[in-house]
């Protein structure tokens, strides 16, 4: 069937700077309302978390016994907690922590995952076997219990609170990389069969060039989508762990450990300003990231490109 393909038939006559694939993707993404709303919400969340605290008149860990458990007011927009700390300030600081952990864990797992996946898919053989079996083993253990066990060990070791942050990141990427590695490997395997990869063979290009200039750039769109979704997963896992007291521990705030207030019957019933804001923050952030990821996937859909 010869459906007219406007892009293919484009008459290349006038000199226009070629729109890169990224620009085209963004143009398509702009048409997706949900994804754009999500994008703006996430931007807002970032600004709130990273710039917001500078505008706050309250100091993060300063307790104020005279001002405990105040409901929202003009001075404390989201009220105060049971140490008299401003909830909004804590929420913003917690956002910094949660978002940083989410993104850092994603970056780590993408780095490990795509490197191992690319090596696996490109070289096959024994290397592939070893990497993929390790990934299989890690994937066969459900994520949360694994994290719980790791976190419990950490608690035993009495790791200081400020280092726990980094350890949580590493733990989360440890759970996250196998899925990514598999994905990248699959992508590389199918790309390797493409004629343009055969062309690199005919041209006598080196392995390094084949992987870095031909294979990896072609996995980037997919990676981008998965990495975005991965951030959401990491934020959720971090929250869950912190909620259970095994992740980021107080006094360092995180959305998860702020939710801990819901564990207390009195707080749950009488002081919803303690747990509704972090809950909402987690919920909206994760939903936004997922919607943005979906939007990206649609915008990058190869069926629409070519």
């Amino acid at each position: 069937m010869d459906t007219p393909n406007p892009i293919v038939n484009k008459q290349v006559k006038t000199v226009v700077k070629s729109p890169s694939i990224w620009k085209q993707t963004f143009r398509r993404l702009k048409k997706n309302k949900l994804a754009m709303i999500s994008l703006f919400f996430l931007l807002f969340m970032f600004l709130l978390s990273f710039i917001g605290p500078y505008f706050s008149p309250y100091i993060l860990d300063r307790t104020n016994v005279a001002n405990m458990n105040q409901p929202p007011s003009a001075a404390h927009w989201l009220g105060t907690d049971n140490y008299g700390r401003d909830v909004l300030t804590r929420l913003m600081m917690a956002g910094q922590i949660s978002l940083t952990i989410g993104i850092a864990a994603m970056v780590l797992s993408v780095m490990i995952g795509s490197l191992l996946g690319a090596i696996s898919g490109f070289y096959r053989g024994v290397v592939d076997m070893v990497i993929m079996r390790i990934a299989d083993i890690l994937m066969s253990i459900p994520g949360l219990p694994l994290l719980l066990i790791l976190a419990a060990i950490l608690s035993e070791w009495k790791v200081p609170a400020e280092y726990r942050l980094y350890i949580i990141m590493i733990m989360l990427s440890f759970v996250g990389w196998p899925g990514l590695a598999r994905l990248v490997r699959g992508q590389i395997l199918s790309l390797k069969e493409q004629p343009f990869m055969q062309a690199t063979e005919v041209l006598g290009l080196s392995d390094r060039r084949k992987i870095l200039h031909h294979l990896i750039p072609n996995t980037v769109p997919l990676l981008l989508v998965v990495a975005t979704l991965n951030v959401a997963g990491s934020i959720l896992s971090e929250s869950a762990l912190s909620f259970l007291g095994l992740g980021v521990v107080p006094p360092t705030p995180s959305w998860g450990n702020m939710m801990d207030a819901a564990n207390n019957f009195m707080d749950f019933r009488k002081r919803p300003w303690l747990w509704i804001p972090p809950g909402t923050a987690i919920f909206l952030t994760v939903v936004s990231i997922n919607l943005l990821g979906d939007g990206l996937r649609d915008a990058l859909d190869p069926k629409m490109r070519r």
């Binding site: 892009i7 041209l203 006598g204 080196s206």
Partner: protein
């Protein structure tokens, strides 16, 4: 006599048809089943066959993109399959391949200039500074405009993409190019442009081509010597004029008569072959063409015909010519 550039002796390439642990012995696809031919310097050699004839497999095996099953391939007197890593890199500069599908043979994430230039730099043919200049030179030769250099492949039509693929191959200044159905995916008006480009490049640079195609009219236009393949074997090989004016093998005759001629008044004897092309997994005994051959006898089922010279460099494999 001009010198032989590529010599193929009894080349065989089998693929195993069943995968996994329980490989049955002998259950293989005989994609290329003992093929011999020679391509001389400056020659355009046509390889014609229908699907499953193994013509593309030959093209890729002689460039050592696939390993052979048996036989010899010599490029400029050197055995292609026993080259060292360094010599193989040398071969990659001297030989090139142009693919059928110009859409999938270009990396969508590489600008045209990079696609054409990267191998030149990689092989140290030009310095990084000169590469752009050289790329523009090659692009001009292949009928591309200078402003195309910073564009991505998806902005081009099929014909222009094929020009990019050709420019990419020409950039290395090769001596020998395998053309694997290079115009099959193109429209008639574009096809003519590309075919003329092939002739020009060949003449100007003294190139040799192995031109693989299913289209006899294109092959007749472009090639000097032609081999007809059927199910992994060459059934007939002759210089162009000889093959088209005096075809010997019944398959060649049928193939020639089957091509629709764009002239409604043309009257001709049409030989319509019955049946389908048999599977290369389980080809017929004896002569593989006998199941569809109008002249087949018992002898054809018993014994495969010899591939012999019928005089004047006209080779044929049939009991009855």
């Amino acid at each position: 006599m001009s010198e032989a550039l590529l010599e193929v002796q009894n080349l065989k390439k089998y693929y195993s048809a069943s995968k996994g642990m329980f490989k049955k012995f002998g259950d293989s696809v005989k994609a290329v089943d003992g093929v011999s031919f020679t391509i001389e310097k400056g020659e355009v050699f046509g390889l014609v066959g229908e699907s499953g004839s193994g013509k593309s497999t030959i093209g890729k095996t002689i460039l050592r993109l696939h390993e052979k099953t048996d036989g010899d391939v010599k490029f400029k007197g050197k055995d292609v399959f026993s080259l060292s890593k360094k010599e193989l890199r040398q071969l990659r500069v001297q030989t090139q391949l142009v693919f059928q599908d110009p859409f999938s043979s270009l990396n969508p994430r590489l600008r045209v200039g990079d696609a054409i230039g990267e191998a030149m730099v990689e092989h140290g043919l030009v310095s990084k500074k000169e590469v752009r200049e050289r790329v523009l030179e090659v692009m001009e030769k292949c009928g591309l405009s200078p402003f195309h250099i910073d564009r991505y492949p998806h902005e081009f039509s099929g014909g222009q993409r094929q020009r990019i693929v050709i420019a990419r191959a020409m950039a290395l200044n090769p001596e020998f190019i395998v053309m694997d159905e290079p115009v099959a995916a193109l429209d008639v008006s574009i096809q003519a442009q590309i075919i003329n480009l092939f002739s020009d490049l060949q003449r100007e640079n003294g190139l040799s081509y192995l031109f693989i195609s299913h289209d006899l009219s294109v092959v007749e236009h472009l090639c000097t010597k032609i081999a007809i393949m059927y199910l992994g074997n060459i059934v007939e090989l002759a210089p162009k004029e000889e093959l088209f004016d005096h075809p010997l093998h019944p398959y060649t005759k049928a193939l020639l008569s089957a091509i629709p001629i764009p002239d409604p008044t043309a009257k001709r004897e049409r030989i319509i072959l019955t049946g389908d092309i048999p599977s290369p997994i389980n080809p017929p005994s004896g002569c593989k063409f006998r199941t569809r051959c109008p002249m087949a006898t018992d002898l054809c089922a018993e014994k495969a015909p010899d591939y012999r010279d019928a005089g004047g460099g006209h080779f044929v494999a049939c009991h009855y010519v």
